[in-house]
Structure formats: C-alpha cells, structure tokens
C-alpha cells in the first residue's frame, strides 16, 4: 500500500523507476509481467544498472532498499546522468558503509567498496591513479559527516577531482536508526530517545555550508528528493556535478536530502513530505558554490629518469673514484662524535662514512634523533670496518670526538681503554681525568674562527682525527669536501681548517705534548 502511494505522487518518469528500483517485499508480489501489463514504462531501466542484480543473493530483479527510500531515487538519477553523459565505461563507483553499501549490486560500472567514512580518501587515490576516469564517492550522513568528517573535508580541500553524492537522511539507516550528525533538533532516534538535544548532542551539521568555506571545491549544491520539482532539480545537480568532473574542473559535491521512511516510521508519501516540511527548513536548498576554481599549479616537479632521481650512477659511467691507497691499520674503528646541535656533529659523521666508503670500507652512521636533538645536543656513532658491520651502536668507542665540555664529561667514561678523546677546547677542565685514555685538547673553535667561520670547527676536528688516528686518508677528506661543499669560499675555509687540525696534532706530537697513539695498530 505504502508503495503504491509513492508511485501515485511521482511523475511518469520517476514512477517507472520507483517501481523497479525502489521496490519492496510488497512490490515483489506483483510480477514484472503483471506490472508491464498495468504500466507502460516510459523509461526503461538505465543500462548503467545491471539487468539482473546477480551480486545479490536473492530477489535479483529488485533492489534491497525499502519502499520510498531516497537511495533508490538517487541511484536512478546518477545512473541516468552517467548514461546521458556516456560515462559508464569510465566510471568507478566507491560504495560506502551504510544502507548503500551494496550499491555495487546495481551500478554496472567499476566498483570498489570501502571502509566506513573513508570513501573520499580511497576515491582520492583511485582518481590519482586513474586521472582521466570518473570517480564517484557515494556516502550517507553517518559515513560522511560523522566517522568520515576528516576525509571529506580534506578531499574537498585538496580539490580532488571526484564527485561526492551525500545522501542525508538525518539518521543511521543501516544500523537501525541511531542518531546521525544531521539528525534534527528534537528528532528522536534510538540513541537520542528524547529527541536530539543540542545541550547533549549539539546541532545538526551542515556539510554543504561547511565545505563551501573551502577554497578548492568547484561545485556544491544541496537538493532534496521531496517532490517532483525538487527531484528534477536533483537530477540537474547530479548531472552537473558529473560534468564538472568529466571536464576535470574540480571537486563536486551534491548533498541530497533523502527520505528514510522505514526508520522515520512514516509511509513513503509522509516521508517525502517530511523532507519538504522539516528537513528543507533546517537544510536549505541552495547552490553554495558554482565556479571553476583557479588552482595555482605552484612549482611543477621536474620529470626525470628514475636512475637520476634515485642517485644511481650506472656502473659504466661511475666516476673513477680510484680508491686512495690508504693503509687501514685496523679491523674496525668505532667513533663517537658528540656536541651541541649546530656544531656539525652529525655532518662530521656523515663525511667520515663517505670517506670510508670511498676507501672501500664498510661503514655505518647512527645518529641520535628526536627530542634529544631538540634539547640542544646531538651525537652520532660512526663505524669504519674492513668487514661486515655488526652493531652500528657503539657502547665503547675507540675515539670520542667531544665538541663541547658537556659531551666530554657525558661520554668520556664510555671510551675503550687505549682509546682517544679529541676535545674541542683550549685545555681540559681542571677536574677532568680519563685513565687509560689519551686525551687531546684542540682549540678547534678558535682555529676555525680565525680562518673565517666557526662553522668549520668540525672540519678542524676532522683534521685532528685523521692526523691522530690515521684511520682515513686526508686526500679522501679533501675530495669529499670538494664534492659536498658547494660554496667556494666555504670550501676554501674547510680546506684550511682540515690542514689546521692536522698541523695542530702534528705540532703537539712534535713538541711531545702527546704521545702517538697505537690504538689502531
């Protein structure tokens, strides 16, 4: 009975569709043949729908929607628009979680069913993966305006070239009538049994208006499946939204106020009237956005061959980095470098492993990261080895490069006996001692300062390290610096800093201030 009355209020065009698409148990009592006898269908079912809904377990000639459900009408309007625009073969329909979860039963297009609320995210990546195609995200109000609020806002804000059909029926249909974010003030639901109270549940969300605050969207309209006139408007809006996508013009969004007679406890006619009388005043019909947005392209990333992008040098063309004939008098050397952030601690470590790699050694570099760096200090572990490196984490370094007093005091005790500490300072703190370890003070900051930049302090220390331990060749250091330091004036300072660091150690040795280490022999 309820169903008949729906047909009674529809125009001939909609009528035939309501009959075939928004069918019901009641309807199914009438055989297709019988109905053909009674009604002369003016429009046959859109070929964008499957002939028979074979993905459905039973009743494959009718949908699963209740009589008078807006989803059926919305489906019909979308199918017709796709047909009219000739987009069937290009379309990917993203079904949500909600009563329309089974949209893929009906639409004879590519179908992807996704998680509750996430359709705009999945649709985003589908569209990015298939740029010329038509991607439709079809969502209910729980799906889009509650659990998926973030996804829809961000897809719209990125201006994804997709079309979103948002079926707002002010309720959670599928799960049996719980409150939706669009449930109206005073409206009862199973989870707002006293009617929606703004004091407890807040006010209904106006998604069309909300999205219209964003810059990127091209088209935002709210329509209603309340009466023939509005259904015709909805048809135009749906078509327009798809045209915008077809033209690659931007994000298009149609909010469709839609009856849910079953949960609302109304017959289909009353339900439509309720859309008209109750929903539209709360959710005014309007075109909130209709423009082809000017989206600045920004700096286009260059398109380059993969090997170039990934820094893969073809073996044949590999620059002959003839391995310096440096004698490595060690199986491995473990170096810890520590200091303040900004002293080039991590960089010094990276330069050392670059050198090690060029000299044919196995190398590893492990930095301190995160909050530790934020607090102002940084350290890294450098392993140089002739063999495969086990632990890149050094508990007992052979060499500690302490760029400041804090690091000296913090890490000196870790140094392996027989190891070396290179300390950036004119002299050691008076109370400092490190038994079994050779400690060398180098006024590296002052030396660097005199050379023109305290930034070169780490390079002075590198010079000292190379001279003191002979772990790597100074020549390699020079070639690495030449490759890495792009600014010529800085490179000049770095060259001098390297030499100054080496000379300092040399002179110290010469005057007998320190003995030559044998830690690496």
């Amino acid at each position: 009975m309820a169903n008949e009355s729906v047909i009674g209020v529809t125009d001939p065009e909609t009528k035939s569709e309501v009959k075939s698409e928004v069918s019901s148990e009641v309807k199914s009592e009438v055989s297709p043949q019988a109905s053909n006898d009674v009604y002369e269908p003016i429009h046959s079912k859109s070929p964008v729908f499957y002939d028979l809904y074979e993905r459905k377990a039973e009743l494959q000639h009718q949908t699963h929607y209740c009589p008078g459900c807006g989803h059926g009408v919305a489906h019909k309007l979308i199918a017709e628009a796709l047909q009219e625009l000739g987009l069937q073969d290009k379309t990917i329909f993203v079904s949500p979680v909600g009563c329309s979860v089974f949209a893929y039963y009906y639409f004879d297009v590519g179908n992807v069913q996704v998680a509750h609320g996430r359709a705009p995210a999945s649709a985003t990546a589908i569209k990015r993966s298939c740029p010329g195609r038509i991607v439709i995200s079809y969502q209910g109000d729980g799906d889009l305006a509650a659990i998926g609020t973030a996804e829809i806002v961000h897809a719209a804000n990125r201006g994804e070239k997709i079309t979103v059909f948002f079926v707002n029926n002010a309720i959670y249909g599928m799960t049996g009538g719980q409150m939706a974010p669009t449930t109206m003030v005073g409206q009862k639901s199973t989870t707002s049994p006293w009617g929606r109270r703004p004091s407890n549940e807040g006010f209904p969300l106006h998604m069309a208006e909300l999205l219209a605050t964003l810059e990127a969207p091209a088209y935002i309209e709210r329509v209603a499946l309340s009466d023939n006139k509005n259904i015709m408007k909805a048809r135009r809006a749906i078509r327009k939204a798809l045209e915008i996508q077809r033209d690659g013009a931007g994000f298009s969004f149609v909010e469709i106020l839609s009856p849910c007679p079953t949960i609302w406890g109304k017959d289909p006619v009353e339900a439509r009237r309720w859309v008209l009388d109750k929903m539209i005043p709360t959710f005014p019909l309007n075109v909130f956005r209709d423009r082809r947005p000017e989206i600045p392209a920004g700096n286009e990333p260059p398109q380059r061959p993969v090997a170039d992008v990934l820094g893969i040098t073809p073996k044949a063309e590999a620059r002959d980095v003839s391995k310096p004939k440096h004698a490595h008098h060690f199986k491995d050397v473990k170096i810890k470098i520590a200091g303040f952030g900004g002293q080039g601690v991590l960089l010094l470590g990276q330069l050392l492993i670059e050198m090690g790699m060029r000299e044919g050694l196995e190398v590893s570099w492990l930095p301190s990261y995160g909050p530790e760096m934020r607090s102002g200090s940084a350290h890294c572990h450098v392993c140089l080895s002739k063999e495969r490196i086990g632990s890149p984490l050094i508990s007992h370094p052979d060499v500690l490069v302490a760029m400041n007093e804090y690091s000296l005091r913090k890490f000196a005790h870790e140094v392996a006996s027989g190891g070396v500490i290179l300390y950036n300072g004119a002299s050691l703190p008076a109370d400092f001692s490190a038994p079994d370890v050779q400690v060398v003070s180098i006024p590296a900051s002052e030396i660097a300062d005199k050379l023109g930049s305290t930034k070169a302090t780490n390079i002075v220390m590198m010079g000292a390290l190379l001279e003191e331990t002979e772990c790597l060749a100074p020549g390699t250091a020079l070639s690495v610096l030449e490759d890495k330091v792009k600014k010529l004036n800085l490179l000049e300072i770095d060259r001098k800093a390297l030499t100054a660091g080496r000379l300092f150690i040399d002179e110290q040795a010469h005057i007998g201030a320190v003995s030559q280490p044998d830690g690496f022999a």
């Binding site: 995210a121 990546a125 893969i312 190398v363 495969r388």
Partner: protein
C-alpha cells in the same frame, strides 16, 4: 655504485625501483624521512605523493590505489600503525596488495621515539579484526630496507595481501652504503583491478561476503594461500650455527648487535651462533628447528617484553630450553651486556 643513504630513504628508493607509484602517508618520528623522501622522489617519476590527513586516511588511500592496480605504500610508526589496523584488515579482506612500513618506536601510548620491537604482535599476528595475516619482513640494514621493500611488493602481489616491512628507529635513521641496480621492475598485470575502463568495468573490489557460507569459503581460500606462503616464503639468516652450543635469536637491529656478540663470544671460546628471521610471518620455524637441533640453549633477544619469543617457543616446542632477554623503552642492549647474559646463562647450563 654505492651511495650513502638513510634507512628510511632507502625504503623509498627501493619502492620506486619496484614500480611503486603511490605513496600516502602521515609524518611521525622516526619514520618521517620515508614520507619526506617520497614527497621528493615520487612526483619526479610520475608517481603520486599525498600527505594524508591521518594514518586512517592514508591506509584507505593505499586501499584505493591498490584497488586501481597501482603498487602503493605507506610508512609510519607505532601510533600510526594502530590507526591503520582497520584499513589493513580491509586490504587483506579485499585481497589487495600493498606495502606498509613500520619503523617501530617505544610504546605503549605516545611512549617515545627511541627504537623498540614492540609492534611484533600487532604486525605479525595481525592487529586488525578478522582472520588474516600480514606478510612481514624485517630488514636490519640500509641495503635491506631497499631490498626488502622491493621483495615486499613482490610478495604482496604474489599473494594479493598486505606486506609489512617491520623495522625500528635505528635502522630507519642510520646511514650506510646502498647499492641499487638501475633496473626498474614492471609490476605484474592485475586483471582484477578497477581502472575505469571498459575492460575492467565488471571488476569489483570488496571485503563483503554477506552469506555465512560465502564468507567461510572466502576465508578458506585466504587460509590456503597463507599455507602456500608458509611453505614457500620463510627466510632467515644463520651465522656460525653449525657447531653452536648457544643459539642467539633476534631480528632487525638486534640481529646486528647479536652478530657482534657472537663474534665476541667466539673470541672467548664460547660457541655461539646467530639465527635471524628475515620473514617474521611466515616465521622460518623449520629452519629454526634445524639450527637449534644441537644447541644446549636458545636465547631470544628483543627490544620488547617477549613477543617474537612466542614464535620461537612454538617452533621449538620444548625441544630446546628457550630463554629470553629483552630491553624496552628505547634501550638497545650493548654487545658487552649480551655477552654477559650468555656467559651467565651458559655457566648455569654447563
């Protein structure tokens, strides 16, 4: 030629060589360099990079790209992986291939950003809902970060299932030489993908099986492929195990420390060996049983309170005493510390 590279960056380089053209992620320490490198490289090779609004969105973007037949990935760390679990379950249920990288940090909750191995249960046992598995690979070096990411894409496609590269903050943050071959992999044809073309119009991606029998059948099929993977895919590395009296078992960064420990112990005359699972799922149980056949004791070391330990015990099934040493909170045991652990335990054993 070798280039110096951070572990996290190597992931992205491997992914691009594997033909991955979709990266969808959200920043989190210590995994952010993955997103940063992807942002830099993907657009230059015709790929897509999107910084998603959350890991929830990111994994569902991966779902979308995978449904469209593109090799796609995301990377994150503990909290982000927690948010991805629903999506990973959907991917597994819809039999969509993808690669997810978890650069583990300290937990639970916000924990800290130092390395831990405490997401083992979540990744290896499947942290999302329903009956499914992730294929899980555990790199321990920068080279392996690239190599295993590439392998992960192959396995994901082979089994149409998510594959996880499970590593930790240290492997992600460290720099080592990386040797990449200039050879791009052409991903396999995916006739099932939904691409918005006439040929793919009939295709359909979903994890819904409404009828109980249908869903059971679907799960049986998934089980069957998981069993095939269990036969074909377990991988491990075994060092010095032939004459070992004590077998040290660890993965990822721990395996590196264990290798040094084994070498140090051998210098002291203790016959130690290393068993390092490379696939955490499927777990290389058979190989472990063989490697442990003659040892007196197995010592499992993890940066957790004993998660992989369960798989070692299941594999060895009481045949060999299995002991455990774990550090958590971001502490990584030193070689000396592990040496002592072994020495005291072996002293008791002998």
């Amino acid at each position: 030629m070798r280039q110096l590279c951070k572990g996290n960056v190597a992931v992205v380089k491997g992914a691009i060589l594997a033909g991955c053209r979709g990266y969808y992620g959200y920043p989190i320490t210590p995994a952010s360099e993955i997103a940063e490198a992807a942002a830099l490289y993907f657009p230059q090779v015709g790929g897509t990079f999107i910084q998603a609004e959350s890991e929830v969105a990111a994994i569902n973007m991966v779902y979308g790209a995978a449904a469209a037949g593109v090799r796609a990935m995301s990377g994150s760390s503990g909290p982000g992986l927690s948010l991805m679990q629903e999506g990973m379950s959907y991917l597994a249920g819809a039999e969509l291939p993808c690669v997810i990288v978890d650069v583990m940090r300290g937990g639970p909750g916000l924990g800290n950003i130092a390395p831990e191995q405490s997401d083992y249960f979540a990744m290896v046992k499947g942290g999302g809902h329903g009956n499914y598995r992730n294929i899980v690979l555990a790199p321990a070096s920068v080279q392996e970060m690239a190599d295993f990411t590439m392998l992960a894409f192959d396995l994901a496609d082979k089994y149409r299932n998510p594959a996880v590269v499970l590593t930790d903050g240290f492997v992600g943050q460290m720099m080592e030489p990386l040797d990449l071959e200039d050879r791009e992999i052409q991903p396999p044809e995916k006739p099932w993908a939904v691409k918005g073309t006439p040929e793919t119009r009939a295709n359909f991606i979903s994890s819904i099986y409404l009828e109980t029998d249908e869903l059971e059948e679907h799960q049986r099929r998934m089980e069957a492929k998981y069993m095939r993977a269990q036969e074909a895919e377990p991988r491990c590395e075994i060092c010095h195990a032939a004459d070992a009296e004590v077998l040290l078992v660890g993965y990822g960064i721990v395996s590196r420390v264990l290798l040094s420990t084994v070498e140090a112990l051998r210098k002291e005359g203790v016959k130690a060996g290393l068993f390092r699972p490379i696939t955490l799922w499927p777990y290389p149980s058979k190989a472990l049983v063989e490697a442990a056949a003659k040892v007196q004791k197995v010592l499992v070391v993890e940066l957790s309170n004993g998660q992989m330990l369960e798989d070692v015990r299941l594999a060895l099934n009481g045949k060999v005493p299995v002991e455990f040493y774990g550090r958590v909170g971001g502490n990584v045991p030193s070689v000396q510390e592990l040496q002592e652990q072994v020495l005291t335990r072996m002293a008791v054993a002998v």
